[in-house]
Symmetry: C2
Subunit: 177 residues, 2 copies
Protein backbone atom coordinates (compact mmCIF):
# COMPACT_ATOMS: atom_id res chain seq x y z
CA UNK A 1 0.00 0.00 0.00
CA UNK A 2 1.28 3.44 -0.85
CA UNK A 3 0.74 5.74 2.11
CA UNK A 4 0.36 9.49 2.01
CA UNK A 5 3.26 10.82 4.04
CA UNK A 6 4.00 14.30 5.32
CA UNK A 7 6.85 15.44 7.56
CA UNK A 8 6.62 17.94 10.40
CA UNK A 9 9.88 19.60 11.41
CA UNK A 10 9.71 21.03 14.90
CA UNK A 11 11.70 24.05 16.12
CA UNK A 12 13.60 25.43 13.13
CA UNK A 13 15.89 28.42 13.73
CA UNK A 14 16.91 30.54 10.75
CA UNK A 15 20.57 30.45 9.62
CA UNK A 16 21.68 28.18 12.52
CA UNK A 17 19.52 25.28 11.36
CA UNK A 18 19.64 25.94 7.63
CA UNK A 19 21.75 22.98 6.63
CA UNK A 20 20.11 20.38 8.86
CA UNK A 21 16.58 21.51 7.97
CA UNK A 22 17.43 21.54 4.24
CA UNK A 23 18.69 17.99 4.55
CA UNK A 24 15.39 17.07 6.25
CA UNK A 25 13.43 18.69 3.43
CA UNK A 26 15.52 17.08 0.67
CA UNK A 27 15.25 13.66 2.31
CA UNK A 28 11.48 14.03 2.70
CA UNK A 29 11.20 14.89 -0.99
CA UNK A 30 13.56 12.17 -2.24
CA UNK A 31 11.94 9.48 -0.11
CA UNK A 32 8.39 10.13 -1.19
CA UNK A 33 6.80 12.52 1.31
CA UNK A 34 4.33 14.97 -0.18
CA UNK A 35 5.44 17.97 1.82
CA UNK A 36 7.37 19.18 4.84
CA UNK A 37 5.81 21.53 7.36
CA UNK A 38 8.46 23.53 9.20
CA UNK A 39 7.56 25.06 12.52
CA UNK A 40 9.77 28.02 13.43
CA UNK A 41 11.30 31.06 11.75
CA UNK A 42 10.41 31.41 8.06
CA UNK A 43 13.51 30.80 5.99
CA UNK A 44 13.55 31.90 2.36
CA UNK A 45 16.79 30.06 1.64
CA UNK A 46 15.13 26.70 2.27
CA UNK A 47 12.22 27.59 -0.01
CA UNK A 48 14.71 28.53 -2.72
CA UNK A 49 16.78 25.37 -2.29
CA UNK A 50 13.75 23.15 -2.76
CA UNK A 51 12.35 25.23 -5.61
CA UNK A 52 15.65 24.80 -7.49
CA UNK A 53 15.80 21.06 -6.84
CA UNK A 54 12.19 20.56 -7.98
CA UNK A 55 12.94 22.48 -11.19
CA UNK A 56 16.00 20.42 -12.00
CA UNK A 57 15.06 17.00 -10.65
CA UNK A 58 11.26 17.00 -10.77
CA UNK A 59 8.39 16.55 -8.26
CA UNK A 60 5.91 18.97 -6.77
CA UNK A 61 7.24 18.60 -3.23
CA UNK A 62 6.17 21.52 -1.03
CA UNK A 63 7.67 23.37 1.92
CA UNK A 64 5.27 25.14 4.28
CA UNK A 65 6.17 27.29 7.30
CA UNK A 66 3.88 27.48 10.34
CA UNK A 67 4.15 29.31 13.64
CA UNK A 68 2.35 27.18 16.21
CA UNK A 69 3.19 23.49 16.42
CA UNK A 70 0.17 22.93 18.60
CA UNK A 71 -2.45 24.39 16.27
CA UNK A 72 -0.88 22.67 13.28
CA UNK A 73 -0.45 19.22 14.79
CA UNK A 74 -4.02 19.21 16.07
CA UNK A 75 -5.23 20.21 12.60
CA UNK A 76 -3.20 17.41 11.01
CA UNK A 77 -4.54 14.89 13.50
CA UNK A 78 -8.11 15.96 12.75
CA UNK A 79 -7.47 15.30 9.05
CA UNK A 80 -6.89 11.66 9.92
CA UNK A 81 -3.09 11.47 9.93
CA UNK A 82 -1.40 9.04 12.27
CA UNK A 83 1.18 11.14 14.17
CA UNK A 84 4.54 9.42 14.57
CA UNK A 85 7.11 11.30 16.63
CA UNK A 86 10.68 10.10 16.15
CA UNK A 87 12.61 10.23 19.42
CA UNK A 88 15.33 8.12 21.00
CA UNK A 89 13.04 7.76 24.04
CA UNK A 90 10.30 6.00 22.07
CA UNK A 91 9.50 2.38 21.25
CA UNK A 92 11.76 0.49 18.83
CA UNK A 93 10.99 1.10 15.15
CA UNK A 94 11.59 -2.56 14.27
CA UNK A 95 8.81 -3.58 16.66
CA UNK A 96 6.22 -1.01 15.59
CA UNK A 97 6.78 -0.48 11.86
CA UNK A 98 4.32 -3.16 10.78
CA UNK A 99 1.47 -1.54 12.69
CA UNK A 100 2.40 1.95 11.52
CA UNK A 101 2.72 1.13 7.83
CA UNK A 102 -0.92 0.06 7.73
CA UNK A 103 -2.02 3.66 8.19
CA UNK A 104 -2.99 5.42 4.98
CA UNK A 105 -1.97 8.88 6.14
CA UNK A 106 1.16 9.33 8.22
CA UNK A 107 2.70 12.50 9.63
CA UNK A 108 6.30 12.02 10.79
CA UNK A 109 7.38 14.51 13.46
CA UNK A 110 11.08 15.28 13.87
CA UNK A 111 12.49 17.64 16.48
CA UNK A 112 15.64 19.66 16.75
CA UNK A 113 16.03 21.31 20.15
CA UNK A 114 14.01 20.24 23.16
CA UNK A 115 10.57 19.00 22.18
CA UNK A 116 7.62 19.97 24.39
CA UNK A 117 6.21 17.26 26.60
CA UNK A 118 2.83 17.58 24.93
CA UNK A 119 4.19 16.40 21.56
CA UNK A 120 4.93 13.03 23.17
CA UNK A 121 1.32 12.79 24.31
CA UNK A 122 -0.36 14.17 21.21
CA UNK A 123 1.51 11.65 19.03
CA UNK A 124 -0.03 8.27 18.30
CA UNK A 125 3.43 6.70 18.34
CA UNK A 126 6.76 7.76 19.78
CA UNK A 127 9.37 5.78 17.89
CA UNK A 128 13.08 5.31 18.46
CA UNK A 129 15.42 4.47 15.62
CA UNK A 130 17.89 2.97 18.12
CA UNK A 131 17.97 4.27 21.70
CA UNK A 132 21.14 6.21 20.98
CA UNK A 133 21.61 9.91 20.24
CA UNK A 134 22.34 10.51 16.56
CA UNK A 135 20.49 12.57 13.95
CA UNK A 136 16.92 13.51 13.06
CA UNK A 137 17.93 13.24 9.39
CA UNK A 138 19.06 9.64 9.93
CA UNK A 139 15.99 8.69 11.96
CA UNK A 140 13.70 10.18 9.30
CA UNK A 141 15.49 8.37 6.46
CA UNK A 142 15.50 4.95 8.05
CA UNK A 143 11.89 5.35 9.17
CA UNK A 144 10.72 6.36 5.66
CA UNK A 145 12.67 3.52 4.05
CA UNK A 146 11.22 0.96 6.46
CA UNK A 147 7.55 1.95 6.40
CA UNK A 148 7.61 2.02 2.60
CA UNK A 149 9.63 -1.23 2.47
CA UNK A 150 12.20 0.28 0.16
CA UNK A 151 9.67 0.97 -2.61
CA UNK A 152 10.40 4.72 -2.37
CA UNK A 153 13.93 4.06 -3.68
CA UNK A 154 12.48 3.54 -7.14
CA UNK A 155 10.36 6.72 -7.22
CA UNK A 156 10.42 8.65 -10.48
CA UNK A 157 9.59 12.36 -10.34
CA UNK A 158 7.76 14.06 -13.15
CA UNK A 159 8.80 17.45 -14.49
CA UNK A 160 12.58 16.90 -14.21
CA UNK A 161 14.81 18.54 -16.80
CA UNK A 162 17.64 16.04 -16.27
CA UNK A 163 18.13 12.47 -15.25
CA UNK A 164 20.98 10.40 -13.87
CA UNK A 165 22.04 7.24 -15.65
CA UNK A 166 23.55 5.13 -12.85
CA UNK A 167 27.22 4.27 -13.42
CA UNK A 168 29.65 1.75 -11.96
CA UNK A 169 32.36 4.44 -11.94
CA UNK A 170 31.82 8.11 -12.81
CA UNK A 171 28.86 10.38 -13.56
CA UNK A 172 26.36 10.44 -16.37
CA UNK A 173 23.49 12.93 -16.54
CA UNK A 174 21.21 13.35 -19.55
CA UNK A 175 19.00 16.35 -20.34
CA UNK A 176 15.26 15.74 -20.66
CA UNK A 177 13.97 19.03 -21.99
CA UNK B 1 27.25 -12.24 9.23
CA UNK B 2 28.46 -9.25 11.21
CA UNK B 3 30.70 -7.12 9.03
CA UNK B 4 33.43 -4.82 10.23
CA UNK B 5 32.37 -1.37 9.07
CA UNK B 6 34.24 1.90 9.01
CA UNK B 7 33.13 5.24 7.57
CA UNK B 8 35.29 7.67 5.62
CA UNK B 9 34.07 11.27 5.54
CA UNK B 10 35.55 13.20 2.67
CA UNK B 11 36.18 16.96 2.67
CA UNK B 12 35.32 18.25 6.15
CA UNK B 13 35.66 22.00 6.76
CA UNK B 14 35.93 23.21 10.36
CA UNK B 15 33.00 25.23 11.81
CA UNK B 16 31.03 25.26 8.54
CA UNK B 17 30.60 21.50 8.48
CA UNK B 18 30.51 20.88 12.22
CA UNK B 19 26.86 19.90 12.50
CA UNK B 20 26.64 17.74 9.42
CA UNK B 21 29.91 15.94 10.17
CA UNK B 22 28.85 15.38 13.82
CA UNK B 23 25.62 13.85 12.57
CA UNK B 24 27.68 11.57 10.30
CA UNK B 25 29.87 10.56 13.23
CA UNK B 26 26.93 9.96 15.58
CA UNK B 27 25.09 7.92 12.97
CA UNK B 28 28.19 5.83 12.26
CA UNK B 29 28.52 5.13 15.98
CA UNK B 30 24.83 4.40 16.61
CA UNK B 31 24.53 2.14 13.58
CA UNK B 32 27.48 -0.07 14.39
CA UNK B 33 30.51 1.30 12.57
CA UNK B 34 33.79 0.91 14.44
CA UNK B 35 35.18 4.31 13.61
CA UNK B 36 34.89 7.33 11.35
CA UNK B 37 37.88 8.70 9.50
CA UNK B 38 37.44 12.36 8.67
CA UNK B 39 39.50 13.84 5.89
CA UNK B 40 39.89 17.60 6.20
CA UNK B 41 40.55 20.20 8.89
CA UNK B 42 41.03 18.75 12.37
CA UNK B 43 38.06 19.73 14.51
CA UNK B 44 38.33 19.42 18.30
CA UNK B 45 34.61 20.04 18.79
CA UNK B 46 33.71 16.82 16.97
CA UNK B 47 36.22 14.84 19.05
CA UNK B 48 34.65 16.30 22.20
CA UNK B 49 31.08 15.61 21.07
CA UNK B 50 31.83 11.94 20.47
CA UNK B 51 33.91 11.61 23.64
CA UNK B 52 30.95 12.89 25.67
CA UNK B 53 28.45 10.61 23.92
CA UNK B 54 30.69 7.54 24.43
CA UNK B 55 31.02 8.38 28.14
CA UNK B 56 27.27 8.71 28.66
CA UNK B 57 25.90 6.15 26.21
CA UNK B 58 28.73 3.61 25.89
CA UNK B 59 30.85 2.20 23.02
CA UNK B 60 34.46 2.71 22.07
CA UNK B 61 33.65 4.39 18.76
CA UNK B 62 36.61 6.37 17.44
CA UNK B 63 37.07 9.54 15.40
CA UNK B 64 40.30 9.90 13.43
CA UNK B 65 41.37 12.89 11.33
CA UNK B 66 43.57 12.45 8.27
CA UNK B 67 44.97 14.89 5.73
CA UNK B 68 45.22 13.01 2.45
CA UNK B 69 42.19 11.09 1.22
CA UNK B 70 44.34 9.36 -1.36
CA UNK B 71 46.98 7.96 0.98
CA UNK B 72 44.32 6.90 3.47
CA UNK B 73 41.91 5.24 1.02
CA UNK B 74 44.74 3.29 -0.60
CA UNK B 75 45.88 2.13 2.85
CA UNK B 76 42.32 1.04 3.73
CA UNK B 77 41.97 -0.82 0.46
CA UNK B 78 45.26 -2.65 1.09
CA UNK B 79 43.91 -3.81 4.45
CA UNK B 80 41.19 -5.69 2.58
CA UNK B 81 38.22 -3.32 2.96
CA UNK B 82 35.64 -3.15 0.20
CA UNK B 83 35.33 0.55 -0.65
CA UNK B 84 31.74 1.71 -1.16
CA UNK B 85 31.31 5.32 -2.23
CA UNK B 86 27.80 6.68 -1.72
CA UNK B 87 26.83 9.03 -4.55
CA UNK B 88 23.61 9.83 -6.37
CA UNK B 89 25.44 9.00 -9.62
CA UNK B 90 26.08 5.40 -8.60
CA UNK B 91 24.22 2.12 -9.03
CA UNK B 92 21.00 1.57 -7.06
CA UNK B 93 21.56 0.36 -3.48
CA UNK B 94 18.61 -2.04 -3.68
CA UNK B 95 20.29 -3.84 -6.58
CA UNK B 96 23.77 -4.09 -5.11
CA UNK B 97 23.26 -4.48 -1.36
CA UNK B 98 23.22 -8.28 -1.43
CA UNK B 99 26.61 -8.46 -3.08
CA UNK B 100 28.07 -5.78 -0.80
CA UNK B 101 26.85 -7.26 2.46
CA UNK B 102 28.86 -10.42 1.81
CA UNK B 103 32.10 -8.52 2.34
CA UNK B 104 33.60 -8.93 5.80
CA UNK B 105 35.24 -5.51 5.87
CA UNK B 106 33.45 -2.51 4.41
CA UNK B 107 34.54 1.12 4.23
CA UNK B 108 31.69 3.50 3.41
CA UNK B 109 32.84 6.74 1.77
CA UNK B 110 30.62 9.83 2.04
CA UNK B 111 31.42 13.19 0.49
CA UNK B 112 30.43 16.74 1.19
CA UNK B 113 31.61 19.16 -1.48
CA UNK B 114 32.80 17.99 -4.86
CA UNK B 115 34.43 14.58 -4.72
CA UNK B 116 37.53 13.98 -6.86
CA UNK B 117 37.06 11.85 -9.94
CA UNK B 118 39.61 9.36 -8.67
CA UNK B 119 37.42 8.41 -5.69
CA UNK B 120 34.84 7.05 -8.15
CA UNK B 121 37.50 4.87 -9.72
CA UNK B 122 39.30 3.79 -6.56
CA UNK B 123 35.98 2.61 -5.06
CA UNK B 124 34.84 -0.97 -5.59
CA UNK B 125 31.25 0.23 -5.69
CA UNK B 126 29.61 3.59 -6.35
CA UNK B 127 26.15 3.37 -4.85
CA UNK B 128 23.14 5.66 -5.10
CA UNK B 129 20.50 5.75 -2.38
CA UNK B 130 17.97 7.08 -4.91
CA UNK B 131 19.21 9.11 -7.90
CA UNK B 132 18.02 12.32 -6.26
CA UNK B 133 20.00 14.96 -4.36
CA UNK B 134 19.42 14.73 -0.61
CA UNK B 135 21.84 14.15 2.25
CA UNK B 136 25.00 12.18 2.95
CA UNK B 137 23.65 11.55 6.45
CA UNK B 138 20.51 9.97 4.99
CA UNK B 139 22.41 7.91 2.43
CA UNK B 140 24.78 6.64 5.12
CA UNK B 141 21.93 5.69 7.47
CA UNK B 142 19.88 3.82 4.91
CA UNK B 143 22.95 2.07 3.57
CA UNK B 144 24.08 0.93 7.04
CA UNK B 145 20.56 -0.24 7.94
CA UNK B 146 20.26 -2.23 4.71
CA UNK B 147 23.64 -3.98 4.64
CA UNK B 148 23.18 -5.04 8.26
CA UNK B 149 19.55 -6.00 7.62
CA UNK B 150 18.33 -3.98 10.58
CA UNK B 151 20.35 -5.98 13.11
CA UNK B 152 22.28 -2.86 14.11
CA UNK B 153 19.08 -1.39 15.56
CA UNK B 154 19.39 -3.75 18.51
CA UNK B 155 23.05 -2.97 19.28
CA UNK B 156 23.89 -2.60 22.97
CA UNK B 157 26.96 -0.54 23.85
CA UNK B 158 29.11 -1.45 26.82
CA UNK B 159 30.40 1.17 29.23
CA UNK B 160 27.27 3.37 29.26
CA UNK B 161 26.39 5.19 32.47
CA UNK B 162 22.69 5.48 31.55
CA UNK B 163 20.09 3.61 29.55
CA UNK B 164 16.77 4.50 27.95
CA UNK B 165 13.69 2.47 28.80
CA UNK B 166 11.51 2.85 25.68
CA UNK B 167 8.16 4.51 26.41
CA UNK B 168 4.86 4.80 24.55
CA UNK B 169 4.63 8.44 25.66
CA UNK B 170 7.33 10.35 27.53
CA UNK B 171 10.93 9.74 28.60
CA UNK B 172 12.50 7.28 30.98
CA UNK B 173 16.24 7.08 31.56
CA UNK B 174 17.87 4.95 34.24
CA UNK B 175 21.39 5.31 35.65
CA UNK B 176 23.74 2.36 35.31
CA UNK B 177 26.72 3.38 37.43
Amino acid sequence: MKQEIIVFRYGHREVRDYRVTSHCALVSRALGAKRIIICGEKDESILNTIKGVNERWGSKFKVVFVKSWETELKKIKKKGYCLVHLTMYGEAVQEKEEAIMKHKKICVIIGSQKVEREVYHLSDYNIGVTQQPHSEIAALSIFLDRIQQGKELGNVFSGANRKIVPQKHGKKVIGLK
